[in-house]
Symmetry: C2
Subunit: 149 residues, 2 copies
Amino acid sequence: MARKRFDDMPCSIAQTLNLVGDWWTLLIIRDAFFGARRFAEFETRLGIAKNILANRLSQLVENGIMQKVDIGQTGTHYAYELTEKGRDLFPVLTALRQWGDKWVYGEGCAPMDVIERKSGRPLARMVPLGADGTPVALEDLEIRLKEKS
Amino acid sequence: MARKRFDDMPCSIAQTLNLVGDWWTLLIIRDAFFGARRFAEFETRLGIAKNILANRLSQLVENGIMQKVDIGQTGTHYAYELTEKGRDLFPVLTALRQWGDKWVYGEGCAPMDVIERKSGRPLARMVPLGADGTPVALEDLEIRLKEKS
DNA sequence: CCGTATCCATTCCGATACTG
DNA sequence: CAGTATCGGAATGGATACGG
């Protein structure tokens, strides 16, 4: 990435893909959610080449999705942490995961579960809700484009 | 795509990205949600090269995310429609869009709104919920990997 | 430990031309 | 209208070697 190909598309989906739609980027963010913090940790977990990882991490930092924290006294140890902007991608990852759970592996066969400790149970399936809190029907949706000023 | 690079990762996120994580694929699906059906329609809206579009559409059909319907008498007019599997990607697109609304454009400045006709109001922000229906805290989550059999 | 620099093979993508 | 075929340039990604 980041090919700047979708830069001029006035669409939040295209713009978001521009920032995290890369082949590796979302997996890096996934592992960050799952506890990875160090360069070598991402490298090992993902099996990604060093240069690619360095490139993606610096882009994520540049875009404010992760931050680089110095954790050594000598300035040779760093941690990469999700910012609030990055943590706010959790719904995206959850939606992707739940779709794969259902359509790739099938219900009950997913290779990992995300459990809420409080209840000991998996998260509820994410569903788009209307303003009144009830699930929306696709047929009832209307796209409204903002006019140019 | 579809580079088969993530094929062996036992992870629903990686597997889903394998199917729709391509640069163009999610935008094709987006336009399908927004009403595009014909080959030329996707071509024009996206500004994508014919061969790339043909490739992506055939993969989507192959993967059961879209279906190709003959709508001409002569067999020269087709429509591409989302299957149930494809329509079930709506939460993914919604999560991506809402993140971009907030973090790329800022609240109230998004270039498009998705309105529920019934209420005339935008969809609610998608948030992962626990089993009890309340929003989850990231700190309260635990990843549980399935053991091999 | 955390990168950068370089090389090379592969792939991607757009443009164009052509077919039914 | 809905593709297929081909071509060349660009970018990607992996491996390796090197440096702070």
